[in-house]
């Protein structure tokens, strides 16, 4: 395979930027969590590419941890979102302005 390492970084950077855009611009809690998932995905692409670049399996190990953390974050985050939706009846983050 003749892929320079810079291209991997570039692709992952673009995907990360898309994730940031999604998390910042969309005003919908589910889309915000989706954006965070996209960012984690970009990070794992860089980890795998770097593991191949330096011949070190630590990168792939970290991708394993990223997968576990992403699953954790999504399950708890979606439970919180459903709970918040039951309380306020909307997905807009600006409606969640009560501390109780």
């Amino acid at each position: 395979m003749i892929v320079p390492f810079g291209h991997v970084l570039l692709v992952a950077g673009i995907i990360f930027a898309l994730g940031v855009f999604c998390a910042v611009v969309r005003r919908n809690l589910i889309m915000i969590v989706l954006g965070i998932e996209i960012m984690l995905n970009a990070a794992s692409i860089v980890f795998v590419g770097a593991a191949l670049r330096w011949n070190n399996l630590d990168g792939q190990t970290f991708v394993l941890f990223i997968l576990a953390v992403a699953a954790t974050e999504v399950s708890v985050g979606l439970a919180i979102i459903v709970y918040a939706f039951r309380r306020t009846g909307s997905f807009d983050p600006s409606n969640f302005n009560l501390l109780r």
Binding site: I14, L34, L57, V76, V82
Partner: protein
Amino acid sequence: MISAVVIGATAIAITRRNMVHAVVYLIVSYFGTAMLFYLFGAPLLAALEIIIYAGAIMVLFLFVVMMIKVESPEEVMFPLSQWLPAAVFGLIYLAAAVVMIVETPGMEVSLRMLTATPGQFALYVFEHHWFSIEVISILLLLALIGALCLGIGKGARCEGGRADSVSTPPEAASAAAEEEI
């Protein structure tokens, strides 16, 4: 080529109004990422990416989207004066990142074809990072308990059950990795 598919699918996904369409496009994106992992010599991670991301996480998103009836809210953009400075700073950071990637030496090193078989990978993980694996498993257990606690409140038990049934695959996956030793 595959990266073009990944980027395109992600770009389509984040701009959909309909959340179901967004989730389905994101599944395409994750399949592309899994192929990328396979090309980078990580077949086990490619399989895990499909099982956990495209299988479990996206199905969880679909469950939540379908459980709550979507009223398709009109998404209003922020006012121009609010997002213009943010966009300018973001563009500056993007340009800096591109320059950094291009200017850094050693970026032209082409990646060799090298594959870590699942056995080698599992041996490495459990020799060097066994403690982190334990910490991750405790984290998953805590997430399960937390999702259950959130779901049980007010007699709404269903989403807790869904969350924990979906958050178990990583544990099963690490158990499978354990068996491969």
